[in-house]
């Protein structure tokens, strides 16, 4: 049997591990961590073998489906896009699990932690491997559930419980949009088949959906006076889901709060699972986006805006993990931008975006695990209290610096020499340039360059404040155990070299998922459907365009060094409550006040829900009133029961007489 026949085990093993760990883990040493580790390691091996097989022979796409209910199915689809994601997720997750055995060793509820992370990984793997949009949505929601459970892992802390709830609800706004997109898509396909779906056709399967793109693009409905193209509507709703899950503006508010969970969970959420799901969704349904250029525009602009928006907040945060959280949002903005520029460069956009996703997964997981290592050792995550940690924890410091260089994107343009973040981010910025040159507008390009500068500043601010200089408070500290430093070193290796080693093959491998391997899509033809032409990819940008990202990256490093390393500027003046810009940034643009406190609590809860309660009292009152009417009527009629026989006789006789007269009259009239 070929290895592909075992592909279904990839999500299944961690899911089984969840069940086993949850029920048996309490009795095993170390919370039964060995079960998920073995399961995920097996998944990783299978994915790796499949990926290698696909590299040899890209036509060998694995696609197996079973009927679920009605015209829906469950199934697996491993094409190059899915294969690389599977490998990355299982790999990073495996490392994080190994790291966690050290990090979580003091927690009483370890077994619950490992069970939940195992389920988390399983959901994410199932999300990637699914061959239909419904199964993807199911896994998508399960990912949300696991993030809820894990962010609220220390549920005794009210802040953690509240952050978990916020994360779940905010992403759920996106999920509803995603669900609405599926609903619209389902109804459209249902109508295309005229309600009679032949047996054996599963209408929400990706290849089925993609084969109907031309028909979908031709459908449009008037909504509020606008002619809404169905494909645009569906893709925008899908993107709405991605906005929630991938923390794009304005649904990013949950991500920084999600730091209330254990740091390893943050690493899992921010690097391997959860947030990348949104990017993966857009990549997976990319043929639909290609045929709906308006949606791609939205993706590109919102991505670029999120990239810089989050970066500005990252600069002022004092919490180690929060800086990284905003960095994640910002980098996700880059990935979305990379997909959005598909309007200019076609399917290659998937390649560069996923490439950045994978590289980001390595260095972001590394950053978080390093931060976790620091927090584990020192017991605080306020950067203002740290300083000079590098002396105590050399391995952690070294790996973190590598990750920072990768995040800032340092390398030599024109060659494939550089940190992994450089290779992929550079590609996205270049694509944004092409996007502008082909009439998409220069806004995304300009913002992405500015965001690159800010990225470099905030990450080196973090490095300098934490690892260099003198300790600002007295903290104990020691290098972390081997179970933690080994994963760090492995990840550092990947952050250092993965991009450079694979750049040539990777883009081609993933980009051609849609063109050659999967459904043989005619990407330029789809673009024609959207009414535009793809630009031929060119490497003839001016030299300054190639060098600009690196220049701003180095400039950021220098600025951070001057300000935080050399302290040539007195920070106290800038960082004060009176500085309106600082205040605005530090309060995160007051989004918490506006979105959470005002919109959800004041408007929805106190406004609508309480109004609803008043209305309901009204209904209750009406019902009671009807009841009281009959009581009162009975009370009034009771007075006729005088208890005097004569009166009754009188009434009876009168009634009989009148009835007779009435009948007589009626009979006369008729």
């Amino acid at each position: 049997m070929a290895i592909g026949d075992y592909a279904f085990l990839i999500p299944l093993l961690p899911a089984l591990a969840f069940v086993l760990t949850f029920f048996l883990g309490k009795k095993l040493p170390n919370g039964g961590a060995i079960i998920p580790i073995v399961a995920i390691a097996t998944s990783f091996v299978i994915s790796l073998l499949i990926t290698l097989g696909l590299l040899q022979n890209p036509e060998q796409v694995i696609n197996q489906s079973v009927s679920w209910f009605a015209m829906l199915n469950l199934g697996i689809l491993v094409d190059p896009l899915a294969a690389v994601m599977l490998t990355m997720v299982s790999f990073v997750s495996l490392l994080i699990h190994i790291y966690s055995t050290g990090y979580m060793s003091h927690d009483r509820a370890q077994y619950r932690y490992f069970a939940e992370t195992s389920l988390f990984t399983a959901s994410m793997l199932s999300l990637i491997i699914s061959d239909n949009i419904l199964q993807l949505f199911i896994s998508w929601e399960l990912v949300g559930l696991c993030s809820y459970l894990l962010i609220g892992f220390w549920y005794q802390k009210p802040a953690a419980a509240s952050a978990a709830k916020k994360a779940f609800l905010t992403t759920r706004i996106g999920d509803v949009m995603f669900l609405a997109g599926i609903v619209v898509l389902f109804a459209d396909l249902f109508r295309l088949y005229n309600g009679a779906i032949p047996d054996g056709i599963f209408i929400l399967k990706f290849d089925e959906i993609f084969s109907q793109i031309p028909q979908l693009a031709a459908m449009s409905t008037p909504v509020l006076g606008f002619q809404v193209n169905h494909l645009t509507l569906i893709t925008l709703l899908f993107f709405g889901g991605a906005v929630g899950k991938s923390g794009q503006f304005p649904l990013h508010v949950w991500l920084p709060d999600a730091m209330e969970g254990p740091t390893t969970v943050s690493a899992l959420i921010h690097a391997a699972t959860m947030v990348t799901a949104g990017v993966y969704l857009v990549a997976r349904t990319f043929p639909m986006f290609i045929a709906a250029p308006d949606s791609l525009m939205v993706v590109a602009y919102l991505g670029a805006f999120t990239a810089i928006f989050a970066a500005t907040m990252g600069i002022v945060m004092n919490d180690l993990k929060r800086v990284l959280a905003y960095s994640t949002i910002s980098q996700l903005g880059y990935m979305m931008l990379g997909l959005g520029v598909g309007a200019a460069i076609g399917a290659e956009a998937v390649g560069i975006s996923i490439f950045h996703l994978i590289n980001h997964a390595f260095f972001k997981a590394l950053l978080f695990l390093c931060a976790g290592s620091v927090i584990h050792a020192v017991g605080t995550h306020d950067m203002r209290q740290l300083g000079g940690v590098a002396k105590v924890m050399p391995i952690t410091a070294a790996t973190m610096i590598i990750a920072a260089l990768a995040l800032a994107g340092i390398g030599i343009p024109g060659t494939s020499i550089g940190f992994s973040g450089f290779i992929s981010k550079d590609a996205i910025i270049e694509a944004a340039y092409l996007f502008g040159e082909n009439g998409g507008g220069w806004f995304p390009y300009v913002l992405s360059i500015a965001a690159a500068l800010l990225t470099s500043i905030y990450i080196f601010r973090l490095i300098f404040m934490t690892f260099f200089g003198k300790p600002r408070t007295a903290y104990g500290g020691h290098e972390s155990p081997a179970s933690m430093t080994i994963p760090l070193s492995i990840l550092a290796l990947f952050a250092l070299a993965f991009g450079a080693l694979t750049t040539e093959r990777f883009n081609k491998f993933v980009s051609e998922t849609f063109v050659n391997n999967f459904v043989h899509m005619d990407i330029p033809g789809l673009a024609e459907l959207g009414g535009y032409h793809l630009a031929a990819h060119a490497g003839h940008e001016p030299l300054i365009i190639l060098w600009l990202p690196v220049i701003v990256g180095v400039a950021g490093l220098l600025i951070a060094y001057l300000v935080y390393g050399m302290r040539i500027v007195n920070m106290d003046k800038l960082v004060s409550r009176n500085n309106p810009v600082y205040k605005l940034l530090y309060n995160r643009y007051y989004q918490n006040a506006i979105l959470t406190n005002f919109l959800s609590i004041k408007v929805v809860y106190e406004g609508l829900a309480f109004a609803g309660r008043a209305v309901d009292r009204g209904f209750d009152w009406i019902v009671d009133w009807i009841g009281n009417i009959s009581l009162d009527a009975g009370d009034a009629l009771r007075q006729f029961q005088t208890g005097v026989v004569q009166n009754y006789a009188m009434i009876v006789i009168t009634g009989v007489s009148l009835l007779v007269i009435l009948i007589a009259v009626v009979r006369e009239v008729l």
Binding site: T654, V656, I661
Partner: protein, 100 residues
């Protein structure tokens, strides 16, 4: 609540007192009588053409006696029980406290 009841009752009893002098009763009784009479006159009553001419047949005591003890014997017996129990009941009720 009590107040409301009381006033309505007062009105009814006063109205009742007012009409007490039999006018209403008279009117109703006459109305009823008129209706009955009108309908009696308006109806064509089926009847046998003539009474039996034989004078011996004029007496129907024998026939009634026969009917009572043949066809309607069960109601007759029941009636006797009713009468008996009514008698006993009437005596019991009327005797009242004295017996106790």
């Amino acid at each position: 609540m009590l107040n409301k009841q009381f006033t309505i009752m007062q009105i009814i009893t006063s109205v009742y007192r007012f009409f007490r002098p039999r006018i209403v009763g008279m009117v109703i009784a006459l109305l009823f009588l008129a209706i009955v009479l009108v309908s009696v006159i308006g109806t064509s009553w089926p009847a046998i053409d003539q009474l039996p001419q034989n004078l011996d047949d004029q007496s129907n005591i024998k026939g009634i006696g026969l009917l009572i003890f043949t066809e309607f014997v069960v109601p007759f017996e029941l009636l006797s029980i009713v009468l008996l129990s009514a008698m006993v009941g009437a005596i019991y009720i009327a005797k009242g406290e004295a017996g106790r």
